[in-house]
Amino acid sequence: MTERCAVIGIGQTHFKKRRDDVSMPGLLREAIDRALEDAELSIGDIDAVVIGKAPDAFEGVVMPEIFLADAVGATGKPLLRVHTAGSVGGSTFIVGAHHVITGIHDRVLAVSWEKQSEGNAQWGLAGGRSGGIGAGGAFAPWIRAYIEESGAPEYIGWMVAVKDRRNAAKNTYAHLKMPDITLETVKESPMLWDPLRFHESCPSSDGACAVVLTNQAGARRSSKPAAWIDALSVRSELGQFPGRNPVRPQAGVECAHDVYRQAGITDPRREIDMAELYVPFSWYEPMWLEGHDIAGPGEGWKMVDSGETDIGGAFPVNPSGGVLSTNAIGASGMVRFAEAAMQIRGTAGEHQIDGVRTSLAQAYGGAAQYFAMGIFRSS
């Protein structure tokens, strides 16, 4: 017997380049307290805690959840640490949901975080060695391959950047808010990793995101609307081997098809009302639209070009401003899931899309080799 699982509480910190005003425990607690308040619960009501973050090298603490056990309210309870590279926030959400779906626990807190200002993310990504090419350097060749294959014009990347940064201006918690950004601003910004310009790249943020997950009985006790989980899936593949297609990784294709199947979706572009996709570099929006078969081959960039992925469009993507505007790496995947659930619950504030009944959340990590996806519904 399995239980249906719902999101009944969501909390985020304000994301910033440096959150010098709080310690690591304080940062997590900020998100957790907001999620508990939203869920109308206290920390004592929580049965188990699942925690996720990207490499420990970012903050310089080995398995920091061990010292954070008190701050996250986990003492005397199960505390499980997930780490699946950039997808970790999504994976952490999914592991948290499994605790509820299996009936092992009734109310679970899942929290993901990164306090990148404690260290140097580029240094951390390079394993403390010099000569790291950065995440953008790793992805740029695949982005060039996508542009080459699809024939997409250069300005598509700028359009995604403008959309996401303007969307972020509507999001209380977002890091980079640029309500006045234009294509010109993006075009004139320095080239970092050809074809990625400065404004087409994610920032380095401090922040955390927490969700409270419960079963049907728990959701009934909540006075607010719940976001019901209708599908969850993870897929991993090797990062490099001859014949791999890194532009459209098979793990991403299979992960998407798995969640569509679970949710009974045959035409994702029509049946899904909005999506929060992990887009740390502008071009990943059209790449994932195609990589998850929302758009056909070479059609993803046309969805961007026509404004279909804008807040007012037929398939809004990243109304929160996305990873492009806010990237506390460990938290970013969970923010996608939290924002997709907020859209269902109608609690997204200024960046709320009208009438969302089915939403999609996606996170990816490593060399575009780890995928975590979920589908939420309003009932």
Partner: protein
Amino acid sequence: MPARDIAIIGYAQTPSQRDAIQSEVQLLVGTITDAVTMAGIERREIGFTCAGSCDYLTGGPFAFVSNLEAAGSWPPISESHVEADGAFALYEAWMRLQEGDIDIALAFGSGKSSPSNPAEVWAQQLDPYYLAPLGADPVSLAAIQARALLDAGRATERDFAEVVARSRAQAASNPNAQLSGAVDVDALLAAPYHTAPLRRHDLPPISDGAAAVIMARGDKARELCSRPAWIRGMDHRIDPHQPGVRDITTARSATTAAKKAGYDGGPLDVAEVCATFSPQEIILREALGLPEGTQINPSGGPLAGNPVMAVGLVRVIEAAARIIGGSADRALAHATAGPLLQQNLVCLMEGE
């Protein structure tokens, strides 16, 4: 209530080695292959895989990514990773199996302590604001714990030495052990202190190693294994981090985990406990409520081989092996994380 019809049907581990030539991936390739072979399955039958490892041991980020190679992740697999001992990966995989849509899961754990200095690495696990600046390493903390146990009159240094002598003697029949053989308690007590009141033999060896476990559900388990090790319950709990705010002569979270795993204090044939320092076996015996007559750490335990990130999963394997082999009907395995037994996992297993 969670499903209870999940069993261990295959397992493998590398020997514990002081300085393995192989990389972590190489250690895992053979280990996972052996576990899959023992289970009598094809890799594609594995519905979920969960890995456990530690970035800091390799001195880089994303250490687990290369381990995917050993997991056989092409075509893509449904997979996750915990930054923890493989026993916690086992917990996640066991949980995942309970959803009922898959029949077989793989959990593994791996780590190489030899490339780094464990005393430096694990000092970085402490609270970075209040504890890490003190530079306390695991051995110093374990010595404080041992002293507290002595001062409370709950053990003597001879008791510590007896744990070690039994560990080494029992490890003589374990081909994977790093330290084994007959040792005399009085000779052990004549050795100088390493970090008083601990002597060198009260400490675990520094080890490299890997371990893998295959679990299956219900009829699938019965079909694949003539005597599966049924997991009757599994639970893990964590205590407050600061050693100053808890009684370090006990492990409250171990007591809770054992109860929540369904252990009622009844007879056990075998208990494999993750007592990394000899005094911790005395603490765990009480905290877990192990009855008289239980054979504790017949493998020799972590004092005979301590492949960090696999050592907890090895405890599960050693307990399960005795059920599958028919020499035990009821066994308890224990894993731990954090300083001074802060986090504890208990897995209770039975034969048919």
